[in-house]
């Protein structure tokens, strides 16, 4: 005998039916009432069965819909993660959180603008194979972006070998702290470049990149520029041009900033004042300050050791070492020291 989900109810119904058919209810009025109740029970039973079936079907549909929504949600998440790589994290976050409108609106804000490029990049591109150049450039941008994001920079764009970044929008820690973050970032970048130089030399690149950095603080127009169909979240204005101009006047491996930035960071750095420069779009004469030294522990970078002579070739990049390897290297170095003896 098969199983019926409503077996119990069927049994009750059948029993009522049998009673009615047997005519055992003597009282005619009671028999009539019983018949009515039995009919109502039959109707209620049928309705319940239909409702359960309908409910199951609806739940099935809802489950499928929920599954499909989950899939679409995951797909959108993956897609947005991919798209995020084309935007600065702060800009991405402000758009996706709804804090930022995707429309052609701009505002004026006091920002600290960072501009950098690589000295003699065009010449370098001619001297290197395209594959090497790509690898070198990607490594350079990856390393610099890592430092930039660590310090909270909004990466505006990469233009060939140049980088445009700013501090103070969409998030700001205050004009002074924004400038200080930018300086710390620039210092760490140049220190990293020193280490990268050693790594690149080790890898056989004869002329490693040298970065020049210009920093300026001033009012800029920031927001979405372009057309309704294709826009860029970027900055424009004379102060941006000044950062670029400072960069082009900067020594290779150096940092050159305007007086406006210098005034906000002067306790962190030792500087040298350079000859004033004039920039189109800026009426005032610009006094540049070149960073000579930094008095700030937070600018400390990682260490790479490199030494070679006949019979000895030593290269250590501590940043690449992790846990177990570090211990292995330490033991190897101790063994090597032991093998050298007491120095006589």
């Amino acid at each position: 005998m098969g199983f019926d989900l409503f077996e119990k109810e069927v049994r009750i119904f059948e029993r009522g039916k049998a009673i009615l058919e047997s005519g055992t209810i003597a009282d005619e009025g009671a028999a009539k009432e019983f018949k009515k109740l039995h009919k109502a029970y039959a109707k209620l039973f049928k309705t319940t069965k239909r409702l359960v079936k309908m409910s199951d079907r609806n739940e099935e549909k809802l489950n499928k819909l929920a599954y499909s929504l989950d899939e679409k949600g995951n797909m959108l998440e993956q897609l947005s993660q991919k798209l995020a790589k084309y935007l600065s994290p702060q800009v991405y976050e402000s758009i996706f959180s709804g804090a930022q409108d995707v429309s052609l609106t701009t505002k004026r804000k006091k920002l600290t603008v960072f501009f950098s490029d690589i000295k003699d990049f065009t010449q370098t591109t001619e001297d290197l194979q395209p594959e090497d150049l790509t690898s070198l450039l990607n490594m350079y941008f990856t390393e610099m972006s890592f430092i930039a994001l660590k310090h909270g920079a909004t990466i505006d764009k990469f233009i060939g070998d140049a980088m445009l970044m700013f501090f103070g929008d969409p998030k700001s820690r205050g004009v002074e702290e924004d400038a200080r973050c930018c300086l710390r970032m620039a210092v760490e970048m140049q220190r990293r470049m020193e280490n990268l130089k050693k790594i690149w030399l080790e890898q056989g690149y004869e002329k490693p990149f040298q970065m020049r950095i210009g920093i300026n603080t001033g009012y800029c127009n920031v927001g979405n520029f372009g057309s309704e169909d294709r826009m860029d979240y970027t900055i424009i204005g004379g102060e941006v041009n000044l950062a670029a101009r400072l960069e082009s006047s900067c020594d290779p491996g150096g940092i050159l900033m305007s007086y406006e930035t210098y005034a906000l960071v002067k306790d962190l750095v030792e500087t040298e004042e350079r000859e004033p420069i004039r920039v189109k779009g800026i009426r005032r004469e610009v006094k540049p300050f070149s960073v000579l030294n930094v008095n700030d522990d937070s600018c400390a970078g990682e260490k790479v050791f490199r030494q070679s002579c006949d019979g000895f070739n030593f290269f250590l990049n501590q940043e690449k070492l992790s846990g177990q390897d570090r211990e292995k290297v330490r033991l190897e170095l101790m063994n090597a020291l032991d093998s050298l003896g007491g120095g006589s």
Binding site: G2, F3, L5, E7, V52, S55, D56, E60
Partner: protein, 127 residues
């Protein structure tokens, strides 16, 4: 009566029916393609088991995450069987296990539990 152990699938729960120990557990999600096919045989076996039960202690655990309307009807039938077994003089302990922040499962457990008078009913939230 032979014990029954059915592994859970995406749409049906794990059934662990230990007749020798009088210990039973349903665990997982329940929205089988065919409720009659999945639960039919099991309910029949349980029905026979309860009919023969005399002065025993039975422990029945429900650990469900989700179930559809037809499965709810099966659960109601099961609760009826458990209550009848308790009315017959057996000690019946029913445990409704639910994830503590699952308000829906908590509410459903409370509703099922309301129908039990002779059987002991315990709500057990888990993390």
């Amino acid at each position: 009566m032979e014990n029954i152990k059915i592994e859970a699938t995406e749409r049906s729960p794990e059934l662990d029916l230990n007749f020798k120990m009088n210990s039973f557990r349903i665990k997982g999600e329940s929205y089988p393609e065919d409720v009659t096919e999945f639960y039919g045989g099991v309910l029949k076996t349980l029905e026979s088991y309860f009919e023969e039960l005399e002065g025993q202690t039975v422990n029945f655990g429900f650990e469900l995450i989700y179930f559809n309307s037809s499965s709810a009807k099966v659960l109601m039938s099961l609760f009826d069987m458990l209550e009848e077994a308790a009315e017959e003089g057996n000690t019946v302990n029913v445990e409704w296990v639910y994830v503590s922040d699952d308000d829906n499962m908590e509410e459903l457990g409370e509703e099922f539990g309301e129908d039990l008078e002779a059987a002991n009913f315990i709500m057990k939230p888990v993390e």
